[in-house]
Every structure is written in structure tokens, then in C-alpha cells.
């Protein structure tokens, strides 16, 4: 890589690229991709759900939603920008993709 290219690469990271990783407990691999820190979290959530082959669903009157969890807290507002969750300087962000597990009922 040329010096110019390296400088451009470093500059690109300074401009706001963030290495995002997401785990999903049943899967054997993590999701890994770079995003601008300005991206809204819904963009990441959609890509992550596609990667792991899961989707929100409605069964009868019940709706099941997948959430991103960061630092132990569920992200309810997926219109937040990545930067608003991880801060202005972090270059890495790790999330978990989760769905509430509910079992039971008369059987």
C-alpha cells in the first residue's frame, strides 16, 4: 500500500469508520463489518438479522423482535446513530443480537 493510500486509510478511520462485531448465541461465528459512526442502528440490526438468518415475526397478536444489546443494555431506539451509543472516539463496537426467550403455557 502506498504512503498516500495508507494516509487515506488512516484518514478514513479518523473520519468515522467503526469495526462492528455482533454475536448471536446459537451461531458459531460473529458478524463483522465496518460502518460509519453516523449510521443508524437499524441499518446494522437489519444486516445482522440477515446475516444470522433470523427475522422479526408476528404470530397471532404477538410480535417477536430482535434487539441489539450493547454494554448490557437493550437498544430500544434503533434510529440512534452508532456514535450516540459508542461515543465519538471508539473504533470498535460489540453488540449481541438477542430475542427474549419465553416458554411455557398450558401443554
Amino acid at each position: 500500500m502506498s504512503i498516500e493510500a495508507q494516509q487515506e486509510n488512516v484518514h478514513g478511520r479518523e473520519q468515522g469508520e467503526v469495526q462492528v462485531t455482533v454475536d448471536y448465541l446459537p451461531a458459531t461465528e460473529d458478524f463483522r463489518r465496518e460502518y460509519s459512526r453516523q449510521v443508524v442502528l437499524e441499518t446494522i440490526r437489519a444486516a445482522v438479522m440477515s446475516f444470522f438468518g433470523v427475522q422479526d415475526r408476528t404470530v397471532g397478536r404477538d410480535t417477536y423482535t430482535y434487539y441489539l444489546v450493547h454494554d448490557g443494555e437493550r437498544i430500544q431506539d434503533t434510529q440512534l446513530r452508532l456514535e450516540q451509543v459508542i461515543g465519538e472516539r471508539a473504533e470498535h463496537a460489540h453488540f449481541s443480537l438477542v430475542e427474549e426467550i419465553t416458554t411455557g403455557g398450558m401443554a
Binding site: D23, Y24, L25, P26, A27, T28, E29, D30, F51, F52, G53, V54, V59, G60, D62, Y64, Y67, V69, D71, G72, E73, R74, S96, V98, E99, E100, I101, T102, T103, G104, G105, M106, A107
Partner: protein, 173 residues
Amino acid sequence: MVLYPPVSRWLIPEAACELTRESVQPAGRRGTESGVFWLGTRATTSIVRVVAKPAGIGVVEEPWRWSVSAELYAAIAAYARPRCLTLLGVVHTHLSPRVPRLSPTDRTRGLKINDALAVIIGSAGGELDPAHWGWFVYGPRGYRRLAAGERAERITMTTEPAEFVDIKAGRPS
């Protein structure tokens, strides 16, 4: 990259079954359902290694319902990932002493990954013999019961050790 390697067989330590039973029986004595997650290594032959009991805030144990919050689920992931463990199955109790079967809630709200195990212990966790538990596996048409023959073919009880861990929600330390 295969995110969910197909599973032909599961190796399940008898110790994992015992730890599971011990952990769910207190709730059963209170008249509520309870459950644990079986974590292990997923491969053609998958091995259960850890019984993870969600505990504290985020767990609901009621007479006809057991639920685990998203935050607690993430805490289990935070425990599992550094140890290269994945979720192989969810085990929970039913209060009824009848032959365990999946309720509509179990079918719609359970884990939706091929070859995920759903195991039900009847009699509020009092059923001692795993052969009398309900064994179900998720596939293209949803969960289906593993009949005795298929269960004997695909599930092997071992004398290997198993770990037990209580997991509470919160920021990973």
C-alpha cells in the same frame, strides 16, 4: 462459513442433566416453571458442556411461564463467546406430570435455529429419568418430537463432567 453446522448427534453428560434438574427443582417446589440453557460446542457431533441458569432480574418464573429478558440473554452470550460456546438447547419445566409436549407458546417463542434442542422436564422438574423428558428438535417445519428410536440414535448420555453457572444481567465485567 457455516453459522449453524448441522447436528447429527448430541453428547450430553449425565452430569448436565443432574445439574439441570437440581437447578429447576426449587422453582418447581414453589409451583412455578423454570429453565436453563445448555451451552456447548456445535458441530456434527455437538457436546453439551455448561448448564447456564439465568438468574435475578430478567427472569420470570410463573406457574405457566418461564421467560428470560433480552439483557439476560446477552449476559449469557457474554459468558459463552470467550469460551467458544454456543447455545445448543433450552431446557425448561412444565408443572404437569403428563408426557411433556411443547405448548403453542413453546413452539412460537422458542429458539428458531435448525437442530436447536428444546427439552421439557415434567412434574415441575421432578421427573428424574431423562428418557421421560420431552425431547424436541427444530427443523424446517418447526419443532418436532424426537421419538425414542431417533433419540437413542442421536443422543448419547456420557459420563463427562459438566459445568454449572448462574448468570445475571448486567454489564460484562
